[in-house]
């Protein structure tokens, strides 16, 4: 904002220029009328004054263009800068922030709040300067004509500022309420449309219409509340101006008759009074804009000042390539809000190149455990080590660069399939992308798309099936050539046989990479060097497949259950 200071100064100067021209016009009219009334005393013919008026008008117009563009462009630039800073901040913030804040709320800060701040910095500033100049100049010129008349004429103005401020404040409140009702109405429609099949199957059409009528009525009512106020706005503004004129008419008129004021004074005075009306209206509006702008700015600061809990290390360890040894030392973890820890007392060393499987029921902490390795959530010091270095001391880019992570919910960007697969590498070559797709058993699917790797996947990948999205996400992680590969239940959308096939074809790629696979299908974990069974955040069993079976505990029970089903299948 500071960088725009010079621009604002320039804008203010332009405003001074354009208003000087504007203020000159009534004075010229005064001189012209006086000249017309007493032609023998006139210094110049009235046509000269008329030409001066036209000249002033033209000059006023030219400077006006500059004053408005200068200030309003500056506000747009500030908006741009703020938006840049906000986005940069978002890129810095961690998952705890994003799970705390709702997406819609963040988006509304980017749109509504930013707009409010821009309005304040643009129209707000412009009108404050404008109003100040006009008030100062017009009133001092009016005082020059007649101090007492000025005092009487401006009586209604403070009242008007107050009324406009009050009106626009309650207007704001009511429009906020109307907005809320509108939001409710549109989510009702959205829900109804999404549930079209349910509504039809259960013959709920009439009931839905009734429910909609109620929401619709509430919205109608909130709008009526606004309409009643809006009705007041125009007459109040018109009347204030007219009452000023009325006062000038009686008091000013009688002075002209008494001879203490010329007709020219009277005309000019009326002209200045008219000039005051609009800035006065705007002033009431600006006062609200300032409140709103300040509130919005504080909402923006909420984001700008948010502190990430996952941060770059203060004293980074110097690491080159990570080999992929992972060690958990008495690891404990819980999200802030939750009293019960999600993970407790996990101690384990995973040697580089080991293949580790993680099993356990829903909510046992499988995903939380693997998410902590790339520090998607904050980890306390001294609990996770990679190659013997505390993860909190490894520069984030280095740490995450060494990890290929396939999340449970495969998020794709609305770009081409090729761009999605090559996402993790700057300027990934076509060859690499095709190779990664082939490794992830995705190639055949891609070739069937009309534009192959250039096919756009649509918003969040809606044009792909669940299984295709998951394989695209796997290919994306493989292309990074990571030392550690983490697959968090990556193939839930395909059937068991396909999952086994895909994982089987990946085995060749594993090589000396450390691999962690989370899956609820034990058959997918059978080949792992080590399988961990989690329950309520603890490792309850560990070993390889044969050892776990021999242990005859939970793993074995689940395995037998799954086997039993396979038996039935063979019957």
């Amino acid at each position: 904002m500071r960088s725009q200071r010079g621009t604002y100064l320039l804008g203010a100067l332009c405003l001074l220029g354009t208003n000087s021209c504007a203020l000159f016009i009534p004075w010229l009219m005064k001189l012209a009328v006086e000249g017309l009334q007493f032609p023998h005393k006139a210094l110049h013919p009235s046509s000269h004054y008329a030409l001066l008026i036209i000249a002033a008008a033209l000059l006023q117009g030219i400077i006006r263009i500059f004053s408005r563009t200068t200030l309003l462009h500056a506000a747009r630039r500030i908006e741009f800068q703020l938006r840049e800073e906000l986005y940069a901040k978002l890129l810095d913030l961690d998952l705890p922030f994003f799970s705390r804040e709702r997406t819609g709320d963040i988006l509304s800060r980017f749109s509504n709040d930013l707009t409010n701040v821009r309005m304040l910095m643009g129209f707000g500033v412009l009108n404050v300067i404008n109003t100040a100049i006009i008030y100062l100049a017009a009133i001092s010129l009016m005082i020059r004509i007649s101090p007492s008349l000025t005092a009487c004429a401006v009586i209604p103005f403070p009242l008007m500022i107050l009324v406009v401020k009050r009106l626009s404040a309650s207007m704001f409140r009511r429009s906020k309420r109307a907005q809320e009702e509108l939001a409710r109405l549109s989510s009702h429609v959205e829900e109804n449309v999404s549930a079209a099949a349910v509504v039809r199957a259960y013959c709920r059409e009439a009931a839905q219409i009734e429910a909609f009528r109620e929401v619709n009525s509430r919205y109608l009512e909130s709008n009526m509340g606004m309409a009643r106020l809006r009705g007041w706005m125009i007459p109040v503004i018109a009347a204030t101006g007219a009452i000023g004129t009325l006062i000038v008419l009686i008091l000013g008129g009688s002075r002209v008759i008494a001879g203490s004021l010329t007709l020219g004074d009277f005309v000019a005075f009326n002209g200045y009074l008219a000039m005051l009306i609009w800035p006065t209206v705007v002033l009431g509006w600006i006062l609200n804009l300032m409140q709103r702008g300040a509130a919005s700015m504080s909402r923006l600061n909420h984001v700008l000042e948010a502190a990430a809990t996952v941060t770059e290390p203060d004293t980074p360890a110097s690491v080159e390539r990570l080999r992929g040894e992972i060690e958990f030392r008495n690891l404990a973890f819980s999200y802030d809000q939750q009293a019960t820890p999600l993970l407790t007392g996990i101690s384990l060393t995973i040697k580089p190149g080991m293949k580790v499987g993680i099993a356990g029921p829903v909510g046992s902490g499988k995903s939380s455990l693997v998410r902590l390795i790339p520090r998607l959530y904050p980890v306390a010091d001294g609990q996770i080590f990679i190659d013997g270095i505390d993860v909190n001391r490894i520069p984030l880019a280095r740490l995450r660069g060494a990890i290929g992570f396939v999340p449970q919910e495969s998020f794709l960007f609305s770009r081409s399939i090729g761009d999605n697969i090559g996402y993790g590498k700057e300027r990934a070559g076509t060859g690499e992308i095709v190779a990664a797709a082939r490794l992830a058993s995705f190639e055949n699917d891609v070739l069937r798309f009309p534009d192959g790797y250039d096919t756009l996947v649509g918003e969040r990948g809606v044009t792909l099936s669940g299984g295709q999205k998951q394989r695209a996400a796997i290919a994306r992680a493989l292309l990074k050539n990571p030392s550690i590969l983490i697959l968090d239940d990556p193939l839930s959308a395909v059937d068991a046989r396909t999952e086994e096939e895909i994982l089987g074809s990946l085995a060749g790629y594993y090589g000396d990479r450390t691999v962690i696979v989370v899956s609820h299908r034990l058959s997918a974990l059978r080949e792992c060097d080590l399988i961990l069974v989690l329950e309520e955040g603890r490792v309850v069993e560990q070993g390889n497949h044969a050892e776990l079976l021999a242990m005859d505990g939970r793993y074995a029970a689940t395995w037998h259950e799954q086997q039993l089903r396979a038996e039935i299948e063979k019957f």
Partner: protein, 605 residues
Amino acid sequence: MHYGGIYEDEIVGKAYDRRLMGRFIGYLRPYRLLVVLTLLLLPPMAAARLAQPYLLKLAIDNHIVKGQMEGLPLLAGWFLLLILAESIFTYAQVWLLQYVGQKVMFDLRLALFSHVQRMPAAFFDRTPTGSLVTRLTSDVEVLGEMFAAGIITIVGDIMVLVGIIGIMLWMNLKLSLVTFSVLPLLIWVAFTFRRRMREAFRQVRARLANLNAFLAESIGGMAVVQLFNRQAREQNEFTRLNASYRDANLPVISWDAALYALVETLSSVAVGIIVWYGGGEILQGALTFGALVAFIQYIEKFFSPIRDLSAKYSIMQGAMAALERIFNLLDREHGEPLGSTRGNGVSLLPPPLMGGGEGEGDRQVERIEFRDVWFAYSGDDYVLKGFDLTIRRGEVVALVGETGGGKTTVTRLLSRLYEVERGSITFDGTDIRELPLKDLRSRIGVVLQDPYLFTGSIEFNISLGDGRARQRVEEAARIVGADRFIRHLPNGFGEEVRERGVNLSAGERQLISFARAVAFDPEILVLDEATASIDTASERLIQEGLRGLMAGRTSLVVAHRLSTIQDADRIVVIHRGEKMEEGSHQELLAKRGLYYRLYQLQFRD
């Protein structure tokens, strides 16, 4: 990197379309008295506004210049009266206009919503949810704007403009004509600028849509961005979009500033012209001082509506486009209304099935028969090709087959969410198309694959607000075994379900949709089992729930779990839209045919 945003193309066209307006005026009919009253208020409002400068002229000419104080207070009194009158008329007019506008918007929204309720399920496959929401919200809002600032206000403005021209011409013909010489320029300026601004503004909206779409996606995929160390490149892309949005805005500001300045300048130039030409007239005695002052005031009053006229033109343009879209939706042919039958087959119906329409005391359907059923969602891409199936009362029939084979379609056709194209589905020999839709659907309970939950309490989600179902909510929950988890919720059956049931697990959502079907106590159950894998505990819960759900009902189930096919009386294998095999689980397995393979493939966990 290419980034494609999606936004709805706006229709930019006429600002006034007789056909659309004519139809829209139909919606004003219930409020015609108020509309007439609003129109009647316009002339006195304009008169009160226009008389004020003339009173000033009288004051100057008859009193101030002549030095005659007498009568000036009376004139001032008239002035005050006019101010009051103008305020009252304006208030009444604005309020009436808004009142009628809001009422019409309410009616239109309700008409649209009711219309959408009558649309068949197929309509929703082709229509994006967002566009329907837009029709009911933004498009109707634009019409509201037309009411607040559109037609009637324009009529009022034109009345004022014509009044000013008339008064000026009457006061001094020559001076008026000279003054009006700036008008052609003004009108030309206003319309050219608006056209350019509209184009520039379209750019702004398109770029803002791209920027917002990018931002929303970024927030959603932040974990991926960070895991792949893409922050710098995402920031670059954002900067590009942000800058392109800013740059689209700058010309709009410049055009707007130029327009503002030009109108202001022309208004002052007109004052200069009045002083120049009027001054000469005064010296010749052809014009009074009062007239000169009044002229200046009239010309100022003249310019303000003109300044807004072009803005109002865009509002009207937007409103016409919105009307077009709204009427397009209202003109979409809808399915048959509930409670009526298609065609004139009423008399052919066997009386017992007609019953009371509510399913009470009706006799139950003995035989459901699909005969040579053909169906395609689009064109001749047939999903079902000559499908045959007979289900007898009380039977549980499981449909098995590969995804896309047509299983779900069979269930949709039975409840007439979609209509059979060729062939027929009959209940005891009566084509279901001859049955009142409401009668048919109240016999059938449908459980969809995706258990849709509404925002509202659990109780509401089970009963859907239906009076009879409401009395069976707890019993229904008990039958499917949902009561156990519901009772553990802080508010039990009153617990609020948040947006689409995010606060419940997948299994719990399933159980609620089972309870919903049971609460409506249908004689026929149509169930599309969820494919998603669920943990063992929930699995057991759901199996029990399913047994409660199907007990004593004729059931048609799209099966995805082992226990379901084992419990079924008969299994029907659908492959590429045709029935390939039929029989019991054991029989079909013994055949070692398609079912045997499907079983290997699908019913393994």
